[in-house]
């Protein structure tokens, strides 16, 4: 290759791939999923909650889509994201209406402490169930929006 001009050599060797992105995605995506679960569980008495947890989960899945392409990720994660929106809304409504069973107003929440054998005492709140509904709704709507925008072009060839 020593006798070629610089542009010719550049044209031969230059083939765009995203090897670094794929290698780092397989690491970062799972860190993001763990961080999303942490944000979802820490929601009711520190920063976090269902909304941010859903956003971080959708960021992780969008990172997978950016690295591996649409067809591959559709095979890996065969989830209908439109179906997650009504599931999340039904969970949120049932959590709110569950307070009628105890004769208190709509969306009343409470908490209690549970003793675990090795871990100690943990605090469980019913606001986390409502956060779960928010989580599914935000996850479904965000990925539906981004994939709809990304796939609006028709296949030419």
């Amino acid at each position: 290759m020593g006798f070629m001009k610089r542009e010719e050599r550049f044209n031969i060797m230059y083939k765009p791939n995203n090897l670094i992105l794929r290698t780092t995605t397989s690491l970062i995506s799972f860190i993001l999923l763990g961080f999303a679960i942490y944000l979802l569980l820490a929601g009711h008495n520190s920063p976090g909650g269902g909304f941010v947890g859903g956003l971080v989960t959708s960021a992780s899945i969008i990172l997978l889509y950016m690295a591996y392409g649409k067809n591959s990720v559709d095979e890996i994660l065969p989830i209908n994201y439109r179906l997650l929106i009504p599931i999340g809304l039904v969970i949120a409504i049932l959590t709110g209406a569950g307070s009628f069973l105890f004769g208190v107003p709509f969306l009343t929440h409470t908490f209690g402490t549970v003793e675990l054998p090795l871990y100690g005492e943990i605090e469980l709140a019913t606001a986390m169930l409502f956060d779960l509904g928010v989580y599914f709704t935000v996850l479904g709507s965000t990925i539906t929006i981004i994939l709809s925008i990304a796939n609006d072009k028709k296949i030419v060839d």
């Binding site: 765009p16 992105l21 969008i62 990172l63 950016m66 392409g69 649409k70």
Partner: protein, 104 residues
């Protein structure tokens, strides 16, 4: 004597934090100018990445001023979203599409 030294270091910490916050604010204004009038799109991409890093620094200094650790999750979240945005812009500049159909 030791009490005086402690008060002195506390004052130094406060003033240095305010000074750094002012410097990062000036840097943010200059970076917004670079985003608005960058000659090429690569300049805008680099400026947006630097804006993300400066936002992390602003959140860290605010958490120093407010003496709290509740902002650590927000700092991590800003860094993650800034990384995702930089990846998306870089892929758009290089290949023209952000989410392509197939693995090439």
């Amino acid at each position: 004597m030791t009490n005086d030294i402690l008060i002195l270091t506390e004052n130094i910490l406060d003033s240095v934090t305010i000074l750094c916050l002012v410097g990062i604010s000036i840097s943010l204004i200059l970076l917004v100018y670079r985003v608005l009038s960058g000659p090429t799109n690569a300049d805008r991409a680099v400026a947006l990445d630097a804006i993300g890093i400066n936002l992390v620094a602003v959140a860290a200094f605010v958490s120093v001023i407010l003496v709290t650790t509740k902002l650590n999750d927000a700092i991590l979240l800003i860094a993650i979203l800034s990384f995702l945005g930089t990846v998306a812009i870089a892929k758009y500049l290089e290949k023209g599409v952000i989410i392509d159909r197939d693995m090439d």
